[in-house]
Symmetry: C2
Subunit: 412 residues, 2 copies
């Protein structure tokens, strides 16, 4: 289904090397596991565990802004209010959203069972130290007998090597076609790792999107919170596939302190952002039905907020997205889309380019605009408003037959 080719495995970034074959167990002090517990009817992996061996258990979290929040979100928000997380248990195969008080009890029981099993295993753990994430169809109860048996099993599968993190990344996939991991080895001294899932419902204020980031740096919960909020604002919040925001979105950042290094806030921010930004890129490339990887940039805006709103409005426009699916440089639709954004603009000063080729200059079509070749996979759409200096880019995708197909046949 996915026409976008595999991205390279390793890229240099400021502060170190970013590796895409490692995830949450790349930093010291973390173990991970992923198993097929039987929650998914397909028999595919559906239960993941990330365990922080310490010595620290500081943590921060960012959750969906949807007013309809799944039970695991309501639970994990309580857990994160303590600033400490020992373990994160994640299941695919069911969102446990819109399941009422019984659904919340299911989440609570899951956390209690994880805590009890970890305690039996030698690490005294309370349920309030266990965050829970779920993803899948909204509205159905989870098969709790299956899930709790899976929890017992997965605690005994916890592995410290790279493979434990990779197993976990596989187990949280829903309509994702590939697992998403990234790890940054900062000067060879401390590390940040992460995994994410989220093929559909990618949206301005997170996606359904579960994401766990780990680090072996020493940092307080407050420092982690700053780093995580900065990173999500600049990465996941600027990824918008279809304007939808899920009931289950959760991004967690856990620190073990096992490296015994205390980075500056600036370095911590940069490293967490680098990992989140790379995961966002992987989420775009594997979004449901994607045939084009699109970056919409609005430049010359009166403010960053205006640039963000303008880029998001164009990135969500169904007529722009279907034109891009058809490799059609239909710049008129781009102007029509940006023209409805509630931002400062002058129609006679808007210029548009596709992949560097001007198609509209000062509100009027450029010569050869209809002949610009957009048959490639990557499309950079740039809109210059000419009323200021602010610039923001949003990652999005085209709107394809495959998107309609996947989403019209999801629950039935």
């Amino acid at each position: 289904m996915n026409a976008v080719p595999v991205i390279p495995d390793s890229v240099p970034v400021a502060g170190g090397q970013l590796v895409r074959t490692q995830g949450v167990t790349a930093p010291a002090g973390f173990r991970g596991a992923g198993i097929a517990a039987g929650i998914k009817v397909s028999g595919r992996p559906d239960l993941a565990l990330v365990f922080n061996e310490g010595p620290d258990t500081a943590a921060a979290g960012v959750f969906t802004t949807n007013k309809v929040k799944a039970a695991p979100v309501l639970w994990s928000q309580q857990v994160l209010s303590t600033g400490r997380v020992r373990a994160v248990v994640l299941n695919s195969g069911g969102a446990n959203a819109c399941t009422g008080a019984p659904g919340f009890q299911d989440t609570h029981k899951t956390a209690e069972h994880v805590a009890a099993t970890l305690s039996d295993w030698g690490t005294e753990t309370g349920a309030v130290e266990v965050a829970v994430c779920s993803t899948g169809l909204i509205g159905d109860r989870l098969p709790m007998d299956t899930l709790l048996a899976g929890v017992t099993e997965i605690v005994h599968e916890l592995a410290g090597g790279i493979s434990g993190g990779t197993d976990a990344a596989y187990a949280i996939m829903t309509t994702d076609t590939v697992p998403k991991q990234a790890a940054l080895h900062h000067d060879g001294k401390w590390n940040v790792g992460g995994m994410a899932k989220g093929a559909g419902m990618l949206a301005p204020a997170l996606a359904t999107m579960l994401c766990v980031i780990t680090t072996d740096a020493i940092a307080t919960a407050e420092q982690l919170d700053e780093a995580l909020r900065n990173a999500t604002r600049m990465s996941f919040d600027r990824l918008d596939v279809d304007g939808a925001t899920s009931t289950n979105d959760t991004v967690l950042l856990l620190a073990s302190g096992a490296s015994e290094i205390t980075p500056s806030q600036e370095d911590l921010n940069a490293a967490v952002l680098a990992v989140c930004d790379d995961l966002a890129d992987q989420l775009m490339a594997d979004a449901e039905g994607v045939t084009k990887r699109v970056t919409v940039t609005v430049a010359g805006a009166a403010s960053e907020q205006d640039a963000l709103i303008g880029a998001r409005t164009v990135a969500r426009d169904s007529l722009v997205k279907t034109a891009l699916f058809g490799s059609d440089p239909n710049w008129g639709r781009v102007l029509a889309a940006v023209g409805i954004a509630p931002i400062e603009l002058d129609p006679d000063r808007i210029s548009v380019s596709f992949n560097g080729n001007p198609v509209c200059i000062d509100g009027v079509g450029a010569p050869g605009a209809r002949e610009v070749d957009l048959s490639g996979i990557d499309i950079a759409l740039r809109i210059e408003l000419g009323v200021g200096d602010a610039e923001v880019s949003i990652r999005t995708t085209d709107l394809s037959h495959a998107y309609v197909e996947e989403n019209s046949a999801y629950s039935s």
Copy 2:
């Protein structure tokens, strides 16, 4: 392409009978024509004229809220500022949007040529009495020699019978599969007629949508303005197929006074609304790629504004729309969609039904929710918020393969 069956030709409404086989020439004092002038490469009808013989020429207009406005919109806004319109010339085959100053001159020339030809024909007319509407691809200049020759021809084709209005309704079609007309004969004494086009870009603040409404009632420009704004707010503004708003949207209301009847403002409002509402219904049924006619109702909202925003948010949600295309009663997506609307709500008090079948009660799935049959063409989606008394319905459609197909291949 269009899976939605033909609607009945005549329905009773308050104040009279609504007929769908008559349009702008149903009221006395109006002539209409539609011809193939050669603007469209296909050779189909592409030029329409509506002429008001009087004795009055009072008029009102509502235009796109898009900040990027086509040349004919900028021109017609000036015309309507006088409160008088003698004739409306409309072309399909080109939007004349994003064409700069030369494009505006083209519109001006068109109005001047209509005025000169009508003057030659015996009705002294100034260019400032001629409104111009265009629809089609954004960004290209119109073939002016062809268009002006067509104007000369069409003035001589003007017919007073029903057929003149019907010819005009055909000539403004783009991707529409059927012409849209409606006429209300009010107590057999005075009449309102209308035509519209607009298969794509149907949006909250009008569609690309050209619409001309006529009446033989006596009314001032101010009375017409009130009637038209009320009608568009309650009809076209509550039609939202894909959230897009065109550069060319125009709705005009012209009064000839030929019936010599002066209705009350209340009766005028009701009659204009009845015609606009019926045209909005026809636009929904013929929207690009539609396979489902969907009404999204939000009830029990804290305010009418909250109900409107909530219904519009759900009506625009790609995941809800693809589920409806798949006849999937996926109420979880409905909750996820309404949960991101910036309105007052309590997730535990939301109830949802499809075609009267409860699928979610107080935020939790109802028994049998997944088995509700949505295989029919009409889907009534009702969301009860339980926090107030306000209720608003939005007309929309599903998101189908045909929508993607039509819109990925429009200009190329």
